[in-house]
Symmetry: C2
DNA sequence: ATAATATACTTAACACTGTTAAGTAATACA
DNA sequence: TGTATTACTTAACAGTGTTAAGTATATTAT
């Protein structure tokens, strides 16, 4: 069946990404792995970009699910909810390197080919963060001017941490968990209202 | 002369990076641009990696110079100094896209080939931030546990902002300057001591 | 049952990539 | 003058994404 091979290609590509990384991923290599000729892939995906884009979409959906889990875990407490979301984001990035790299670390030129419609879908991840911020502002625990802007800066701060960890660009003398905890603490500290700013309780889950 | 062509190659490569981006950079393209054969480049650089690594080093030096400028601008005030450094970092990234991309946005697999000795040199940029943090802690304006860890998280937060801006991954409905100001404000807010936190936080105009 | 068509794949080829081996002028030095 | 060195060249290898054209097999129409 047509869709069967499509699924096989996606899974095989993901596995190759985990094992060998994006740079050494080639259409012929995927073909060899699935036991078909390279051109067969083009019957199921327009080109290499489209194949990667499909994987990016899968990753975005998984990330969204992780954030929604955090959302459901702390329905009444925006601070705990935001912290849980930050943690889920970092854990997702570190545990799904193959997804994270193509989702957020591919070169700008490559991403400019990413269809605008899928961009919009990816933005749902931001909306979940923004909603939590808005909730916290309403309860007076967050001091945030523009919820959408700050949701973006939170995302960008976490993305900086994850991408540097994945690229092994963090000073090796710094313990990974210490770095993560500091990054999350700093991110939360940047939005907490002065009143809600004592007891910086952290519960490491790595 | 030998070193002459080496310099020509570096400059030409940088220009090609600005114009066409990293993904479309090829040895043969550089060769065409300088009017020599592609193999000539291998007389001056071991391979493509080494060529890029040389450019990365140049970029690191320029970034260090920018941070040192900020340092010299505010000798007595750690808070103003840190803010100036954050700003310089972001401006450097946005104004030197060709450097920033190869310095911090190249794929992890590529950077694993970056010589450890050059890594250490690049770390000087972090030391400048850490020194400012230490100064601020001594003056009681920064609340920071581990200066080296927090210097890293500051860097990572700023890197997240710059890399997302360069990759055009920030929601287009958000103004760039608003995003940058929010990112810097959040970064500073994460390290300021509660006492020093009143004045700048109660007058947010962005 | 036979002919036409559609499906799902194949091979061959094009223009590119980084890189190496071998060859060639021109210069410097003995 | 003869040798060595320097600074470059061309040709080639093994790889890349992608397209055009070809081939069996299965489905459908007459």
């Amino acid at each position: 069946m047509e869709t069967d091979l499509r699924r096989v290609i996606l899974d095989s590509t993901r596995h190759l990404l985990v094992r060998d990384g994006y740079m050494s991923l080639s259409m012929r290599k995927i073909a060899r792995a699935i036991g078909y000729s390279a051109t067969s892939i083009y019957l199921h995906f327009e080109n290499k970009d489209a194949l990667i884009h499909a994987l990016i979409e899968e990753g975005m959906d998984q990330l969204l699910a992780a954030l929604k889990d955090a959302e459901a875990e702390h329905p009444g407490d925006p601070v705990a909810r935001l912290e849980a979301m930050c943690r889920r984001f970092v854990v997702f990035g570190l545990e799904n390197r193959e997804y994270y790299e193509i989702m957020f670390m591919l070169h700008p030129e490559f991403m400019e080919r990413y269809p605008a419609e899928k961009y919009r879908r990816a933005r749902r991840n931001l909306d979940v963060i923004a909603a939590t911020l808005a909730d916290g502002v309403a309860q007076g625990v967050f001091a945030v001017e523009n919820v959408r802007v700050v949701a973006s800066t939170i995302w960008s701060a976490l993305h900086g941490a994850v991408s540097l960890l994945l690229a092994r660009r963090v000073d090796i003398r710094i313990e990974q968990t210490a770095f993560i905890e500091a990054a999350i603490a700093q991110t939360l500290g940047g939005v907490l209202a002065p009143a809600a700013r004592e007891a910086p309780e952290t519960s490491p889950l790595l």
